[in-house]
Amino acid sequence: MAVQVSNQAQELLERIWLETEEKGREEVELDRLGISPEDGALEELIRLGLVNVSEGVLKLTPQGYEEAKSAIRRHRLAERLLVDVLETGYQLLEERACKFEHLLFEGIDEKICTLLGHPKVCPHGNPIPPGRCCLEAKEGERVVAPLSDLKPGDKGKIAYLQASSSKELQKLMAMGVLPGAPIELKRRFPSYVFKVGYTEYAVDKRVADQIYVRITD
């Protein structure tokens, strides 16, 4: 994207995205966001043609929509990277992710996304909008991939678990499916059969999607 958007304006775009895309509103009132019409970031977005404001109500333009999506994506990828690879604590996560996301320029976000195996949700469980790299993802390039994308015979170590609820995470971990454990996929059909240590497990695709593996062989 050609336009340069300041960090503050990007934060505002993300907040608008949350209100419109994730809470399902058509438009957002300025009052809801708690900003005045003279807000610097807002003026910047209007100037760049990313939002329209009329009668105190704000709406993303098609270009603004793309820009907001990409900002959200960078933010959540940054969170994933901080948590999964750099082991950052949740307390510091928000603050660091906000700084980190601005380093993920065009192109770098795709590399990080590929490195992480094209994750679908952030550590809080919110969706990460897919980028071009996710749609074109080729298996060979991956460092980390969900178990469901492995071929029978592939081996590796469990990189992280992306369970949709803490209960599911707890269940996986209690049964011995833990980050760092060696894992081998044995079958893909009719169910996924994999081996961790000396134990075999059978799971469906939904569970296999939650186990991310750092492939070694």
């Binding site: 049964m175 009719p190 059978a202 939904r206």
Partner: protein
């Protein structure tokens, strides 16, 4: 073992003397816990529901030296932080009943996965013994464990065993005896990282109340957001708000979710212990059992294998041996020739009124019908079925079957695990309805209960149905095809209509193991005992109800009522009676049909229609009562209404279709 709902009934003699000592067996599923339990306790066993739950707990008594110990076999648990009801019960036994000794039983080859639970259990500060079971499999996999060094590091006795062959049991008994006198207990504790330790000790220090378990354990559980301990804090602390604040502050200070961080730390601690005690050798060559296991899960070989199991297990053994040889002998020879004539003469002699004689003997009497059916027909069939089922269960075939059918089962709103109650339903639908407990969500339990009631014929029923179709292969194939189709279609529709979350499938696949005969026999005996205790009274009840119904002529009215839909699906009105009796015993119905057919009242087409409708028709009275107990009466009545409607609609359709193609 799969739960059976024994209820709070002791069915074996329990030694009267009070126990001096309490021992709890703890461990993952599939580690041979129950084999060790049987080896320690022998015959004095009771199985009962844990108070307020449907989870079964076995208790037995055992003698060690001059002391009597009560041995508790806790349900399988993966972690002290419970997810399932079984785990909640297991933890509750450890924390509330406070055993004097914990035996943690692990599968030796999986020690790296199971040692973290040992470390967790040590937090309870109860004397412990670690049992490394299934040592033979570990040795075959080339794993060597330095037992003495492991003892030294953990500070608790470690005993290697091969429970199925009795190896190591004597040593285990000696070690238990040694520990029984001991008061001193100095467990080594896992140190977590400084960040976690700080959080744990902050919570621990804020606790002022009295607990049954060490405060460090309470603190660890609170950090991991355990709701039960949370409730306990509210009832035991003078100032629970303060503790809760401390817990949330401590949680917030942590880098990662406490469950994740603590689990990872424990695993790391276990791994560093194991680095010092485990060595690996070249694994022996691939075993036949592994090859067989692969054949079972590959659809190309697994489905033929399943058909072979069904043919040999159900058709040849249950049908041929159970329904054929055994029933012929017990029913045909014992009852027809000796019991029935004798008791009939007896009751005719002592009771002058025919009406009252009918209650006990003649066509529908308690003894000549109820007892005869229960003992002479159903018990041999169901008993042989349970034997086959126990062999399948102990060999490890069910998890493989579950993974094979999971995809298909997802379409009918279930997950692969449901294959266990559904296969059991082919033996006895009543027992299978209880076993739906192993399914995780209420939605799955309802769908499985519904399918059992509708489209899974029990062994007694298909025993009679196969006889009905003797020599009529095409009719039999049509019957089987229609039932299978209705099963899939009804399941598919139920998965659309019953609200609730989609099921997930996640199962451990234990290695294929040769079943131990004594274990298979004791499971079969336990199931037959259950059957006799729970279902036998229903036969008697059914006989009494039939008698009352006939004497008061209520039955005539009901038969007349049922004859309308029966005529609508093209059957002679005589079959209406069959449907009514079918409710009292699923197989009565089929057997009644057998009589009607022998009188030559049914054409081939009518036979198919009648058999299909009757198979789908409402379950027997025993299953009906169990459904009410397990699922609630509202759900049960709804299921029964739907089942009756479907059975007649399908019967009607099959009748039209057969007429249209000119069958029979």
């Amino acid at each position: 073992m799969i739960p059976l709902g024994f209820g709070r009934r002791a069915f074996r003699r329990v030694e009267a003397r009070e126990a001096d000592f309490k021992i709890a067996l703890v461990g993952n599923p599939n580690v041979g816990k129950s084999v060790i339990f049987n080896a320690l306790t022998g015959r004095y066993v009771t199985v009962s529901n844990y108070p307020g739950t449907t989870v079964e707990v076995s208790k037995g008594k055992a003698k060690f030296g001059d002391k009597i110990a009560e041995v508790i076999d806790t349900p399988g648990m993966y972690s002290l932080l419970p997810i399932t009801d079984e785990e909640r019960v297991a933890r509750s036994i450890l924390t509330h009943e406070r055993p004097d000794l914990i035996l943690h039983i692990v599968d030796a080859k999986n020690i790296s996965r199971m040692l973290p639970l040992t470390l967790q259990l040590m937090e309870l500060e109860v004397p412990m013994i670690l049992v490394l079971n299934i040592m033979d499999e570990a040795e075959r996999a080339g794993i060597r464990i330095d037992v003495e060094k492991l003892e030294a590091i953990l500070g608790i006795p470690v005993v290697p065993t091969i429970a199925t062959s009795g190896k190591g049991i004597r040593e285990l008994r000696e070690r238990i005896e040694e520990r029984m006198g001991e008061e001193e207990w100095e467990p080594s504790k896992v140190k977590l990282n400084p960040e976690l330790e700080r959080a744990v000790s902050e919570v621990e220090e804020s606790l002022e109340g009295e607990y049954d378990v060490p405060k460090r354990f309470v603190a660890l559980m609170l950090l991991q957001d355990d709701p039960e301990l949370g409730a306990e804090v509210r009832s035991r602390e003078p100032n629970p708000r303060r503790v809760e604040k401390k817990v949330s502050a401590a949680r917030a200070s942590l880098a990662r979710s406490p469950v994740y961080a603590i689990t990872m730390q424990r695993q790391r601690a276990a791994d560093s212990i194991l680095d010092q005690v485990i060595s690996f050798e070249e694994a022996r060559r691939r075993r036949f059992s592994e090859l067989l296991g692969d054949l079972m899960v590959n659809p190309w070989t697994g489905i033929p294998f399943l058909l072979l199991v069904l043919y040999l297990g159900l058709y040849k053994i249950v049908g041929g041996l159970g329904a054929g040889v055994l029933v012929d002998f017990i029913e045909g020879t014992l009852f027809e020739r000796y019991v029935n004539p004798y008791v009939t003469r007896f009751f005719e002699a002592i009771i002058p009124w025919k009406i009252l004689q009918d209650l006990f003997v003649h066509d529908y009497g308690i003894i000549t019908l109820g007892v005869r059916y229960a003992v002479a027909i159903i018990l041999p069939i169901v008993g042989v079925f349970f034997l086959v089922f126990s062999v399948m269960e102990d060999s490890g075939y069910f998890p493989r079957l579950a993974m094979l059918v999971d995809r298909v089962f997802k379409r009918i709103g279930l997950n692969g695990r449901a294959v266990i109650p559904l296969v059991l339903g082919l033996g006895c639908d009543t027992m299978a309805t209880i076993v739906t407990r192993i399914l995780e969500t209420r939605r799955e339990k309802i769908i499985a209960t519904f399918l059992l009631a509708l489209a899974i014929p029990c062994s007694a029923q298909y025993g009679v149905i196969t006889a009905l179709f003797a020599g009529k292969v095409i009719s039999f194939a049509i019957w089987a095809g229609v039932i299978l189709f209705v099963f899939l279609l009804a399941g598919f529709l139920a998965s659309r209509l019953v609200p609730g979350e989609e099921p997930t499938f996640f199962m451990e696949i234990p290695p294929l193991r040769l079943p131990k005969i004594s274990n298979v026999l004791s499971k079969t005996a336990a199931r037959m005992e259950w059957y006799f205790v729970e279902v036998f009274p229903m036969f008697i009840l059914a006989s009494v109800l039939i008698w009352i119904g006939r004497v008061t002529r209520v039955f005539d009215l009901l038969v007349k009522l049922i004859s309308y839909p029966v005529r609508a699906i093209g059957l002679p009105p005589e079959t209406a009676q069959v449907f009514l009796y079918g409710f009292f015993r699923r197989d009565y119905g089929a057997a009644g049909l057998y009589d009607v057919q022998r009188e030559g009242l049914l054409s081939d087409a009518q036979l198919v229609v009648a058999a299909v409708t009757l198979t789908l028709f409402v379950p027997c009275i025993a299953q009906f009562l169990v459904m009410g107990r397990e699922r609630g009466w509202r759900t049960t009545l709804a299921v029964v209404g739907v089942v009756i409607s479907i059975s007649f609609i399908v019967g009607f359709t099959v009748n039209l279709a057969l007429k249209a193609v000119g069958f029979g």
